[in-house]
Amino acid sequence: MKQIIAVLTVIAAIVVVWYAACIPMNIKGVLTEQERAGAEVLPPSAKDRRDMGEIGLTLNNSFAIPATWEQDRPRLPAPHQVAIEMWETTIQKKITSKRSLIYHGWVTLSATMLGFAIGTGLGILLAVGIVHSRVMDLSVMPWAIVSQTIPIIALAPMIIVVLFSVGVQGIIPKAIISAYLSFFPVVVGMVKGLRSPDAMQLDLLRTYSASRAQGFWKLRLPASMPYLFASLKIGVAASLVGAIVGELPTGAVAGLGARLLAGSYYGQTVQIWSALFAAAVLAACLVGLLGLIERTVLKRMGMAQ
């Protein structure tokens, strides 16, 4: 309860700051528009205004403040503009419509899920290899870290082209980029998790002279579950970013990334912001869903009180 109040307060504060920030951010554009519409603006020349501070302009032309929240192509759209855009593009559009955010969200989501599945699978396999083979631990793990310093967006177009050349198109290239981003947290978390049983627990199995496979299935794997879920939550958010990145170079075809790009391309800031929020909402939902699964699984395993 206390938490809800706190969150609401913080959100309210952010909204207030946001509205306030709209004024200096948009004032120049608004004044130009007002001037064209015939209003008296101080100073009258656009060139003078360019060199003036935003605050000074606002003070000079306080009549223009409401207009900073209603611009068509603002530098910073006001919260209600974003909210209205989101409302119109989700609830009021058919979900099959190309103008529906839900449609684009779905396109991104499907690539995210596929990439997440691939990335998680690979990540777990790699982690199992690293934990069980010293050779892999020594030689592969450092490169897994280095791989994260490569800017994926630089590789994304090339991945897409290379896959094109072997005839793979559509969702797969996006999924692969999204897998690239999600595999690392999973590897790190899973390696940690598979190594989490302490020496005593491992020794216990030795006293039973258990095989390696038995050790894996009966001890390491169950013990790694909390770590797995923690990294899955990071991984799924990264997956989504990957899917969006993958949508950029393929151009404005479909998906939230395409929506962002198109918004940016046509200077539709409101559209960018609403796509951004849609992405964040999607990420929050995915993480929340995983949290729910985590709780049920761990509860059934008896690991959550």
Binding site: K2, Q3, I5, A6, V7, L8, T9, V10, I11, I14, M25, R75, L76, R134, V135, D137, L138, S139, V140, M141, P142, W143, I145, V146, Q148, T149, I150, P151, I152, I153, A154, L155, P157, M158, V161, V162, S165, A237, L240, V241, I244, V245, L248, L256, G257, L260, S264, T269, I272, W273, A275, L276, F277, A279, A280, A283, A284, V287
Partner: protein, 281 residues
């Protein structure tokens, strides 16, 4: 076909070498920890070379490592200028501003429980915003030069840093806090003498995560507008000119810089948190 068999052979050789190293008597020495990944990397590079040459993969799809190597040495001045623009000016300044402001915010969040309850969930939500989306907005706001890149980096590193620091500041055990209580210590005394040092491992964890994020952020942001230099600029224009060797040379720079940056922070971490069990073993 011969290069392909060669590639398979090289792979087996590299793996065999590493297996020997890993099961050998020096498996735990620093030497092997350094050598093994090196051998693995070299193996991959040789195989790459052989496959590209063997299958005659087009230069404009995937250049061979030797070509990239040549391009790297030929273009050092360009690469250096790009490095300065993107890493030093963009990434580094953003990293510093972002980390420091996150640290200050974390202190505020830690001081007022209300903020922790309210701000952290919102922060997690904002952190989920895909950076690629914020980049064009920030370029619009902060201009084409490195300032907007730094702004993107600030946004990227802020929340991981905040979340880690806040977690770290809560790391001191109940017993350690009670101890401070028995001394009737003030908030700031217990902050400086207990909570901040206890949080260091977490803070450094955040700092390490942020190194790679900073690099990626600065490069990505250049895709959305830049002056005519910078690593992101070079990568995107070089793809357009089909100078794939240049693209890979920049990727090499990014990987080198990222690894060095990460290594540097890890080294400082070792010096500062020498007392932590994870650093002692």
């Amino acid at each position: 076909m011969i290069p392909i068999f060669g590639a398979i052979g090289v792979w087996l050789l590299g793996w065999w070498l590493n297996s020997r190293l890993a099961s050998g008597p020096y498996a735990d020495t620093r030497m092997v920890r350094f050598l093994a990944p090196l051998i693995f990397g070299l193996t991959v590079i040789v195989i790459w070379e052989l496959v590209v040459r063997g299958l005659e993969v087009s230069m404009v799809i995937l250049p061979a490592p030797s070509v990239i190597w040549d391009r790297f040495w030929d273009s050092l001045p360009t690469l250096w200028a790009d490095f300065v623009q993107t890493i030093i000016k963009g990434a580094l300044s953003g990293y510093i501003i972002g980390c420091i402001s996150a640290l200050l915010m974390a202190i505020a969040v830690d001081r007022w429980d209300f903020l922790r309850l309210g701000l952290l969930p919102v922060g997690n939500f904002v952190a989920a915003l895909p950076i690629v989306g914020t980049a064009p907005i920030l370029v619009m706001w902060f201009g084409f030069d490195w300032h907007s890149k730094a702004a993107v980096v600030v946004v990227m590193v802020f929340f991981p840093m905040l979340v880690n620091t806040v977690a770290g500041l809560r790391e001191a055990t109940a017993m350690q806090r009670d101890l401070m209580e028995t001394y009737a210590a003030t908030y700031w005394q217990s902050f400086l003498k207990l909570r901040l040092p206890a949080a260091m491992p977490f803070i450094f964890n955040g700092l390490k995560i942020s190194t790679t994020l900073a690099l990626i952020g600065a490069i990505v942001a250049e895709f959305f507008g830049s002056p005519t230099l910078g690593m992101g600029f070079r990568i995107s224009t070089s793809v357009g000119q089909l100078s794939l060797d240049m693209v890979w040379a920049e990727i090499v720079v990014a990987a080198l810089a990222g690894t060095a940056f990460y290594g540097l922070v890890a080294m400082i971490e070792k010096a500062v948190t020498f007392w932590h069990p994870s650093q002692r073993s």
